[in-house]
Structures are given as structure tokens and as C-alpha cells.
């Protein structure tokens, strides 16, 4: 151990390397305006979600004002419709009010944390399940691998929305059950992804070296192989935050919402569907929010892949 660099030096070198990597990442980010836009949108939606309780009263969705039903008094937009009610009173409702007389803008701000939270829960659980089972399947091989693989086959043979509908129908429409229903359709992709990563990773010399020095199998798998093969999973996870929001809101849109009042983006659109031609703002703005948030995460995930994919670099 005399010829190697001293620990301090090594630390300094790696931290310098890290800084260079980060700077290079930032440089690529600057060169790619679309990714920059995506990361800003994703970041903004997370910040908005975290602070929504401070901006808007969290109990707003429970209070209804029949007098303020379906009205619009934002002078910037003229809907060109025959019967648009003008909200009485001095307050300007930027995005109008809904059929319970609640401010649509505030409802959207309340809904963002709920959708993001559900999406994060689902993606993180799917990543966890995928990492553990995919890693075990690939590293153990043999009949265990075959069993896990066939299990994912079964779940991948049913379209995810359909399976989620069946599950939500039978389990009942609570928020937990809806989350579970989407999760059940989501984990197999991650198992497959992790498995293929670990399969290539476990053939590398460093794994053999670890085995030679007597490291345990669990330790090799979860301390060494998994951290080295987690990166495509992270990219997929970022991309999926958007897709899960889409699936979840689609589920609540077709009527699986726990309550018609609940501030959830798909449910807000569902509540507006019967007023499409009289109060279009009820569907336009909540839907636009889903679109923008999920686009943000998709652009971010796409960008991360491009920035860190060594094949496309330099």
C-alpha cells in the first residue's frame, strides 16, 4: 500500500473530478435549452407543491359557494361563449371558479402536491421493488430468476390502465388503494430493467475480485453491483414521475376519485367535463397543469439520459 496516493490526495482528486463532472453537466445543460426548461419546470412544481399549504388554505376544497358557481371575471380572456357568468364581488378569479364555487387557480395549487406525492410514492416503491427483485433475479439466476421473470411477464401481459381499473374496482376507491393499483402495474418494468443491468454488471472483473477477497453475496450485490447499475433506473424513474401522474389522473378522470370534491388534477377535469361547452376553463387549466408538470419531468429525465450517457457524450 506504499505506492498508492495518500488518502487525502485521493480524496482531493475525486472531489476535483466530481466538480469537473458537475461543471461539465452544467455546461451541457446550458447548451441544451430544452433540458434546462424541463429542470426549471420540474423544480418549480416541486417548490410549489412544498409551499402550497402556505399559499392556499389547505381546507379550501371543503368550502363551497353556490353563489360563485362557474363564473369568470378575468378580463384578459374572452371565451366567446353566450352564457358566461360574471363573478360578483371585488375579487378577480384569474382562472374562474368551478361548479362548487371554488377558485380554480387555488384548487390547482392545492392539487399539485397530492398528484406529485402519489407519483413519487409509486415511483420510489417501484424502484425499490425493481432494485431488490431485479437484482436478486439476475444475481441468483436459475429457477429464482425464471420465477421472477415469468411473474413480470404475467403483469406485463395486461395493459396497465386496465389492470389498475380492475384493482381499483375491487379494492375500493380510497387514495391508498388507487396508489396501490397503479403501483401493481408499474413495478415489473423496473424489475426487468434492473435485471438486465445487473446481468451485464456481474460479469465485470471487479465482481470477481470482490468474490476473491471473500465478500458476501448480499454485500456484493447491494453494496457494489446495485450502486453501479442504478443509473438507468434513476433516469427511468425521473421519466416515470410524469407518466405516473398521467396514469393516476387518468384513473381519477374516469371516475375513480375517492370523492368528487377532492383537489386532484384528474378529478378536477372530471368535474368539469359536463361543463365543457359552458365553462371550458374547468378542464383547460387543470389539464394544462398535468401536461406542464409531466412534460417538465419528461424533459428532465430525457436530459439526464443525454447528459450522462457516455455514448452520446464528447
Amino acid at each position: 500500500m506504499t505506492s498508492g496516493p495518500s488518502p487525502k490526495k485521493e480524496e482531493r482528486r475525486s472531489s476535483r473530478g466530481l466538480r469537473r463532472e458537475a461543471l461539465y453537466g452544467l455546461h451541457l445543460l446550458r447548451k441544451n435549452p430544452i433540458v434546462l426548461l424541463g429542470s426549471i419546470v420540474a423544480l418549480a412544481s416541486v417548490v410549489l407543491a412544498l409551499s402550497s399549504g402556505l399559499i392556499v388554505d389547505p381546507n379550501l376544497w371543503k368550502t363551497t359557494h353556490i353563489a360563485l358557481r362557474l363564473c369568470w371575471n378575468n378580463p384578459i380572456v374572452n371565451w366567446n361563449l353566450r352564457n358566461v357568468y360574471d363573478c360578483s364581488g371585488p375579487t378577480t378569479y384569474l382562472l374562474g371558479t368551478d361548479n362548487y364555487g371554488r377558485d380554480v387557480l387555488r384548487m390547482i395549487i392545492l392539487a399539485i402536491p397530492l398528484d406529485l406525492q402519489v407519483s413519487l410514492e409509486i415511483v420510489l416503491s417501484a424502484v425499490l421493488i425493481g432494485t431488490v427483485f431485479g437484482g436478486i433475479a439476475a444475481y441468483a439466476g436459475g429457477s429464482l430468476d425464471e420465477l421472477i421473470l415469468r411473474l413480470t411477464d404475467i403483469f406485463l401481459a395486461v395493459p396497465s390502465l386496465l389492470l389498475a381499473i380492475v384493482l381499483a374496482t375491487i379494492l375500493g376507491r380510497t387514495l391508498q388503494n388507487l396508489t396501490l393499483s397503479v403501483l401493481v402495474t408499474w413495478w415489473p418494468t423496473y424489475v426487468r430493467l434492473m435485471r438486465s443491468q445487473v446481468l451485464t454488471e456481474k460479469e465485470k472483473p471487479y465482481v470477481e475480485a470482490l468474490r476473491a477477497v471473500g465478500a458476501g453475496r448480499v454485500r456484493i450485490l447491494f453494496r457494489h453491483i446495485v450502486p453501479n447499475s442504478i443509473y438507468p433506473i434513476v433516469v427511468q424513474g425521473t421519466l416515470d414521475i410524469g407518466s405516473v401522474i398521467l396514469t393516476f389522473s387518468a384513473l381519477t378522470f374516469i371516475g375513480f376519485s375517492p370523492s368528487p370534491l377532492i383537489p386532484e388534477l384528474g378529478n378536477l377535469v372530471n368535474q368539469g367535463i359536463q361543463y365543457v361547452f359552458t365553462a371550458p376553463w374547468l378542464i383547460i387549466f387543470p389539464g394544462l397543469t398535468i401536461f406542464v408538470v409531466s412534460l417538465g419531468f419528461n424533459l428532465l429525465g430525457d436530459g439526464i439520459r443525454d447528459i450522462f450517457d457516455p455514448r452520446l457524450r464528447r
Binding site: 366567446n80 404475467i154 410524469g242 398521467l246 378522470f253
Partner: protein, 372 residues
């Protein structure tokens, strides 16, 4: 391994997957819901308790030692067959097409679930096929443009379109289209579509009107075509337009990205370099040499896309009140018509695994480099 050995292996796996799907579906319906819900589709109002008990026994829900219907209704343990014991009799009924009466409002008790499903299925299949075709028509050129003009403006635009399509909520997009075509797009003062919003998709009416369109397949476009009826063909084509657009917009992104990356992979190959250094025109290089190899993965994806769209059409059908199985499944879930949902899942799963297999065989035939 020869091709037929490979196919044989795949068919065995296919059966395994289908049994797995049926086990899950069966367990969800029977294990998590009370036994009455399993009997509900088979019971008609006029049945007396003795008949009901007999029915429950023949369906394998009640044991032969069960004393009376009321004992079963009270969930007494003498009567209840364990869930795993019910599976075989359930499979027998499923394979015989004995799904009981539909619980859907309007047809409840008069039509069987099997009939209701297959009456509606052609509409869904038609939509899924149209969506697949439109996706391929848009995504393939977009993918080529994106790859050949990599990292320039057309690539950025096409990437933005594909990612945008990937991120747009289908239900919102469908509603926006309706809003646009009904309220805001006007030609000479008239809206492009009738005022109540939803396009007339009820070609079920034109199928039933005698002498004009014969219901050969149940899918309006095919029927109109086979009956050589240009008016109804046009009508059903127009009715198909917006739902297909909505369905395609979400899958265009995925296909474009796959085509882009495979095209870029192919363009890096040596034989492309050779073709270019021979002095071939760029157009010839791309369309005659690169495209043939790059389009292969898209064929796989297009096949799978059709199968996935069969299940994914639910939202589009709801938004456009399309008379297919997807919209019906949402209604089925509100009245707890589990049999309808189970049938939908099983049929879709069957189509998906069969399509998977067919696509792989076609792939092997198209690409001589692939050996099994």
C-alpha cells in the same frame, strides 16, 4: 434452436402467462369480494332459493353439504368453498363462454356478458387499429427527420413534439379537440362539428337499417366498406378522426424516439460510410440503405402498440362516448360487473401474448441476422 422449437417454447410460456393472468383475475374477483358478487351475474329475479343454491353449487361457489341458500348468504363456513377450490370450475365456465348475464345498465339481465362484450369489441378494435396506423404514419417520418438532422432545429422540434405527445393527458387532449372543433374552429360561420359536442359514432344505427349496411364484422368502417356503402364509410371515417388523433398523439412520442435511436445507430455503421464514400446521394443512403435496417425495431413496437392500445383506449372511449368495451368497462366498474372486467382483461392479455409471438416470428423472417 430451430424456429419451430423456439415457437413451441414461446407457446408454452404463453399458456403459462395466460394461466397466471387468469389466476390473478380470478383471485381478485373471488378472493377479495364476497361470494354473492360471483353469483350476481347468474341469478335472475325469478329464481327461488333452491334454484339459487343449485346454481351456486354448479358454479363451485357453494359446497355440496351446504344446507340452504340463507346459510350461504350468511357466509356459514359449511357452505364456503375455499378460493383455490373454485378455480377449476371457474376455468371450465370461462372456457365455455359461460359468463352469466351482464350487469351493465340498459342490458342488465337480458344479455349475456359474452354477447355484450363481443358486440362492443369491434368498435374498440377499429379504434386501436386506426390509432396504430396513424401513429406509424406520423412517427416514422418524424423519427427519420430527427435522426438525420441530429441536434439541429428539426431534431429539437421533433423531440419536443414527441415528448409533448408523451406528456399530454389523453383525456385533456380529447376534450380540447372537441372544444376546438365544436366551439372555436368555424368555417363560414358554422362550427365544424354538431353542437352537442360528441361526434356521432352510433353507426350501430346504420348497421341495423336494412339493405344499407350489413353487420359483417361489427366494426362500422369495415361493414360500410364490405357493403360498398360510401356514405356510411365516410361518416364512420369522420367519426373515427378525433378519437384516433387523441389515441395516436400519446403513442407517437414513444415510436418516434425508438426509430430515432435505431436510425442513429444504423447511420453509424460502416456500410453507411461505405455507401457515402461511394458517392451515393444522401437520399439514397438514407432511404435505400439505412431505413430498411432502422425500421425493424419499429415493426416490433407497432405490433405491441396495437395490443397496448386495445387496453389504453379506455380514456379515449370515455371522452368521445365511443361505444366500445373500454367505455363500458368504466360503467362496469361502477356497477361492480366484475365478469365484464375479467373478460376484458383475459381477451386483451390473450391478444397481447399472441401479438408478441407473431411480431417475433415476423421479425425473424424479416431480419436474416436473427437466428433462434
Amino acid at each position: 434452436m430451430r424456429l419451430y422449437e423456439y415457437v413451441l417454447r414461446r407457446i408454452i410460456l404463453m399458456v403459462f402467462v395466460l394461466v397466471g393472468v387468469s389466476l390473478i383475475v380470478f383471485y381478485l374477483g373471488r378472493g377479495l369480494l364476497p361470494p354473492e358478487s360471483a353469483l350476481a351475474p347468474y341469478i335472475t329475479p325469478r329464481m327461488d332459493d333452491a334454484t339459487k343454491l343449485q346454481l351456486a353449487r354448479s358454479l363451485g361457489v357453494a359446497t355440496s353439504s351446504c344446507p340452504s341458500w340463507s346459510a350461504l348468504a350468511a357466509h356459514e363456513s359449511v357452505c364456503l368453498v375455499p378460493v383455490w377450490g373454485q378455480y377449476l370450475s371457474w376455468v371450465g365456465n370461462v372456457l365455455a363462454g359461460n359468463w352469466g348475464y351482464s350487469l351493465l345498465p340498459g342490458v342488465a339481465g337480458t344479455q349475456t356478458t359474452w354477447d355484450v362484450f363481443w358486440l362492443r369489441f369491434p368498435y374498440t378494435a377499429e379504434l386501436a387499429v386506426a390509432g396504430t396506423i396513424l401513429t406509424a404514419l406520423v412517427a416514422i417520418p418524424l423519427g427519420i427527420i430527427s435522426a438525420t438532422r441530429n441536434n439541429r432545429l428539426p431534431d429539437h422540434v421533433s423531440r419536443f413534439i414527441s415528448l409533448g405527445g408523451y406528456s399530454v393527458p389523453a383525456f385533456w387532449f380529447g376534450l380540447l379537440l372537441q372544444l376546438l372543433f365544436v366551439l372555436y374552429l368555424r368555417v363560414g360561420g358554422n362550427a365544424l362539428l354538431p353542437s352537442n359536442g360528441v361526434l356521432d359514432t352510433s353507426c350501430a344505427l346504420c348497421v341495423s337499417s336494412p339493405g344499407q349496411v350489413t353487420g359483417y364484422t361489427g366494426a362500422p368502417i369495415l361493414d360500410a366498406l364490405l357493403s360498398l356503402n360510401p356514405v356510411y364509410f365516410w361518416d364512420s371515417l369522420v367519426a373515427l378522426f378525433l378519437p384516433t388523433l387523441t389515441l395516436a398523439i400519446t403513442s407517437i412520442g414513444a415510436l418516434t424516439r425508438i426509430l430515432r435511436s435505431s436510425m442513429m445507430e444504423v447511420l453509424r455503421q460502416d456500410y453507411i460510410l461505405l455507401a457515402r464514400s461511394k458517392g451515393l446521394k444522401e437520399r439514397v443512403v438514407i432511404y435505400r440503405h439505412a431505413l430498411k435496417n432502422a425500421v425493424l425495431p419499429s415493426i416490433t413496437i407497432t405490433g405491441l402498440l396495437f395490443a397496448l392500445l386495445l387496453g389504453g383506449v379506455v380514456i379515449v372511449e370515455v371522452v368521445f362516448s365511443w361505444p366500445g368495451v373500454g367505455a363500458a368497462s368504466v360503467v362496469a366498474s361502477t356497477v361492480l360487473d366484475v365478469n365484464f372486467l375479467e373478460l376484458y382483461v383475459l381477451v386483451t392479455a390473450f391478444i397481447i401474448v399472441v401479438t408478441n409471438l407473431l411480431v417475433d416470428i415476423v421479425y425473424a423472417k424479416l431480419d436474416p441476422r436473427i437466428r433462434y
